[in-house]
């Protein structure tokens, strides 16, 4: 089955198929380019009629991708580069995404692969840079319309959560972002992280426990499963 995805980048027209990408040549005359575009668009239309299509909106996933990139890199500039590269690769590879697959977990997998490829290329551990993330908090413009006290409390709470998450290991940070913020299922997380389902569950449980300790340090916790050990 032939899959097609058409998109325009920097005023150039690409057609992506499972076998490669074709580009309207800049050496074409304007008339030739118009003719080429019309032909390619009609091909896309033919494909659309033959196989129902759905659309994915990359902008919907940007906050999630950015949060995940920060969880991996802990560096704003690197996170921004990671998101850009992820979107670029996703656009190029859109033809390989099947309609029934999860676009979100596909995008997170791309981002993670890019990050770990970069790490391998550097052959060194990533430099840990303390984040200066002023202005990256969510919905700051919208917050101004809310009750000022509620906004104040919300911002404090938000900052506490972000500070606590920053203190987790990379392994814990990424699983918290994928599960608690992006809502990926255990199965989807296992695919993104390329690990067994049981590992996802136990890793998430440990990450949450650590996060609880960081956030609710004064809470007295009774031993879990105490009664069952008897």
């Amino acid at each position: 089955m032939m899959r097609k995805c058409s998109f325009a980048v920097a005023a150039r027209k690409y057609i992506v198929t499972p076998w490669g990408t074709s580009l309207a040549s800049s050496r074409m005359s304007p008339v030739e380019q118009q003719s080429w575009l019309l032909r390619e668009e009609s091909m896309s239309l033919g494909s659309k009629q033959e196989h129902p299509q759905f659309t994915i909106d990359l902008s919907e996933y940007l906050d999630g991708l950015y949060s995940y990139a920060l969880a991996l890199s802990r560096n704003r500039a690197e996170a921004e580069d990671l998101v850009q590269e992820t979107c670029l690769r996703a656009i190029r590879a859109m033809g390989s995404l099947r309609a029934e697959s999860s676009a979100k977990s596909w995008l997170f997998t791309i981002l993670r692969n890019i990050w770990f490829n970069q790490l391998r290329q550097r052959r060194t551990a990533p430099e840990i840079v303390e984040l200066d993330l002023d202005g990256t908090g969510p919905n700051q413009a919208a917050d101004s319309a809310k009750d000022p006290h509620a906004t104040y409390v919300s911002n404090i709470e938000q900052e506490q959560v972000r500070t606590a998450i920053k203190q987790l290991s990379q392994e814990s940070r990424e699983i918290i972002v994928l599960r608690e913020y992006e809502g990926l299922s255990y199965q989807e997380i296992a695919k993104v992280l390329r690990c067994p389902l049981g590992t996802v569950m136990s890793r998430l449980a440990r990450a949450r426990r650590k996060l609880r300790d960081l956030l609710f340090l004064n809470t007295v916790r009774a031993p879990i499963g105490e009664e069952s050990q008897k």
Binding site: C5, V9, T55, L62, R162, A205, F216, I224
Partner: protein
């Protein structure tokens, strides 16, 4: 998976409505007798609510949105065929 991990995982799965049938009944029975797991359940619930209130964790900067939109030729929606 350690004994403690097993119950932490069950607590999370319970909160996610991922326990069913006998497994669900067994966990409910366990909760009735185990104060530690009840406390853990309450703490996990409190954590889930706190994390939910703090969504999204970070917002992508506006310039990055513009950049991705430009990469997409001004329209970030992409068609995917079956």
């Amino acid at each position: 998976m350690s004994f403690y991990d097993k119950y932490r995982v069950k607590t999370l799965r319970y909160l996610d409505n991922d326990l069913h049938g006998e497994e669900l009944d067994a966990f409910r029975n366990h909760l009735e007798t185990c104060g530690g797991c009840r406390a853990s359940l309450e703490a996990e619930l409190a954590l889930s609510l706190l994390l939910r209130r703090s969504r999204p964790l970070y917002s992508a900067p506006d310039w990055l949105r513009s950049r991705v939109s430009a990469l997409s030729g001004g329209d970030s929606r992409h068609k995917v065929a079956e």
